[in-house]
Symmetry: C2
Subunit: 348 residues, 2 copies
């Protein structure tokens, strides 16, 4: 309804507030040496005009360049591949405006090797770093060292709660486990047993997911008996045999909850047992195999996090940390998504 004239600029503020451009600039950018009264005059003019800073012009003038490094585990992993892809996407969009990204890979399980590799990177000129690594004393040390060098540090996907990291971008694993538990409880009506599998309970994520899962199961679905976690220790063959064995030996099994990766092996075991139809299967992470599992009705629900959000959030957070700006926490909370066959509408 309102007529559009053309956005007010700093010049307009100066005119309306009857001060100079320099003063407007001082107020706008919080520089010192301006009387309270003058600040008010300027702010009044800003409000009166409905002025909003032109971000494009500001960024251009500021010439701020951010240099961020993402540290990802090496080796084949659907999840990490997705992060890589999301980083590429983000880089092409405005979210990564004025940032230079570096992505480096580190060995997955050797903390010393991780630290060695990370110590070799040039910290000068580096504004922030996002770590996707397991928490170990060596990593905690490293985080402290990075912080001391003035680098913003965030944990991505998997938290480093006992380190000095500035922020964690990712989902609350306990809540993710609780969500799985709630779904499992609703899916499995009668009394019976639930099988829980993962790569390794040494991983914090799996521990926390199990914790959340059990919380809900115990309080809301006591008729379901959750069996001890089966671990494959990153061996797909072992995973398949263990799961298959349980499927054969436990006739009262009503559900299967896979907390880690290795879902391909789980699916193979399920297929061999021919018990797929009678079991409710819930797994984590939306990947090509789990997507296929949803479509084939072998998986009932996938608990996922949107990796695009994860990456964009990480970039926003790193940027704000670098500029010592506050972080709008609510915006950075990564949703726990429930994906089933009918709402599987993600771009493939």
């Amino acid at each position: 309804m309102s007529k559009v004239v053309s956005k007010p600029t700093v010049h307009d503020i100066a005119r309306v507030a009857r001060v100079s451009l320099a003063t407007v600039d001082r107020v706008l950018n919080g520089r010192s040496g301006v009387r309270e009264k003058t600040i008010d005059k300027v702010n009044d003019a800003i409000r009166e005009l409905g002025y909003v800073r032109d971000r494009s012009a500001a960024n251009l003038a500021r010439q701020r360049q951010y240099s961020f490094t993402f540290v990802l585990p090496e080796g084949p992993s659907q999840f990490v591949d997705t992060i890589r892809e999301a980083l590429r996407d983000a880089y092409a969009s405005q979210i990564a405006d004025r940032v230079t990204l570096n992505v480096i890979s580190v060995p997955t399980h050797d903390p010393h090797a991780i630290v060695r590799k990370l110590l070799s990177i040039d910290v000068s000129g580096l504004d922030g770093i996002a770590l996707v690594v397991p928490e170990t004393p060596q990593i905690r040390d490293l985080v402290a060292r990075l912080k001391a060098a003035g680098v913003a540090v965030i944990a991505l996907a998997s938290d480093l709660p006992n380190s000095e990291r500035d922020f964690f971008v990712g989902v609350d694993s306990v809540a993710a486990g609780r969500t799985s538990g709630l779904l499992m409880g609703k899916f499995a009506p009668d009394a019976g047993e639930i099988l829980v599998v993962t790569n390794s309970m040494r991983a914090r994520d799996s521990l926390e997911r199990r914790l959340g899962f059990d919380q809900v199961m115990q309080t809301s679905f006591p008729h379901l008996k959750v069996l001890p976690t089966i671990e494959s220790f990153d061996d797909p063959a072992r995973m398949e045999e263990l799961v298959y064995g349980m499927l054969i030996r436990k006739p009262r099994l009503l559900g299967l909850y896979s907390m880690g990766s290795g879902n391909l092996a789980v699916l193979r075991a399920l297929r061999r047992s021919a018990r797929s139809a009678e079991l409710s299967v819930i797994v984590h992470e939306l990947t090509p195999p789990t997507r296929a599992g949803l479509l084939s009705n072998e998986i009932d629900a996938v608990i996922a996090q949107n990796v695009g959000h994860l990456v964009r959030s990480a970039l926003r957070v790193l940027r704000n940390l670098s500029d010592r700006l506050p972080i709008f926490e609510a915006q950075e909370r990564i949703r726990i998504e429930i994906v089933m066959r009918e709402n599987l509408h993600y771009p493939s």
Copy 2:
């Protein structure tokens, strides 16, 4: 790992390609009058340097101002309020850079009044319009008229498939209904009846949701009998009584699917009947009442769309339409979200 020098600019391209700045500009902005060979030289240089256009500078120089109008139904509606809020948020962020937004309210159910109000808006200088209105012949006419005046038109949340609208930003209602159906089927194990309620089946959304719901129910859960849709015609009291009556008279009821708004009345009826615990309740739209319903276990699942995404997507699409740029459809697909008690982690 790679050293950061400082981003290459158009000047660098010109230097490396051994052409003038003007030529680089012509190539970069697809202007005519450049030989194929020269275009290649420039593109080679761009690739060699890894040049990426500085969006801030480009936007600033281009001085493109977008003027968009959002047309929302008036009257109290949680959903519309959320859109309003999301628009405000978007306006404060970079997504609405260089756009001036107008929001106008129109009567909800009177197509003539809507058209009258919309005809009164000044089309000159308007780049695009987003419509949240029901489809009627009058609206289709209006869309055609707006298109003829050179205004980009998108349907928001609710599609106008038989009009000349350029794009639809929202979820596929049939898929949303299918998702609800799948959830309901998984939640309700035994044979029994499912109650379906809405404001009005005249609304396309409700029709399509019911269609999707029935598809899944019939093919996957034939043991469940879906009752005819109950309509409240926007009368909460009527809704409450109708639902309450069914709850009393139908002992075999296992589930309740609410496709439209008016969930407050549905919840009241449910509470009065004291049958909440035995029923699986699935509703649409995450609003304060449905959020409360999730927390109190009266609602089992909410099918929602992320209104923030909806609005940001609308702005992106309108912008691209105005610039006659292609739309990246996969990015604009709005997800159907399944929200339950344990993944209800939205900012309140």
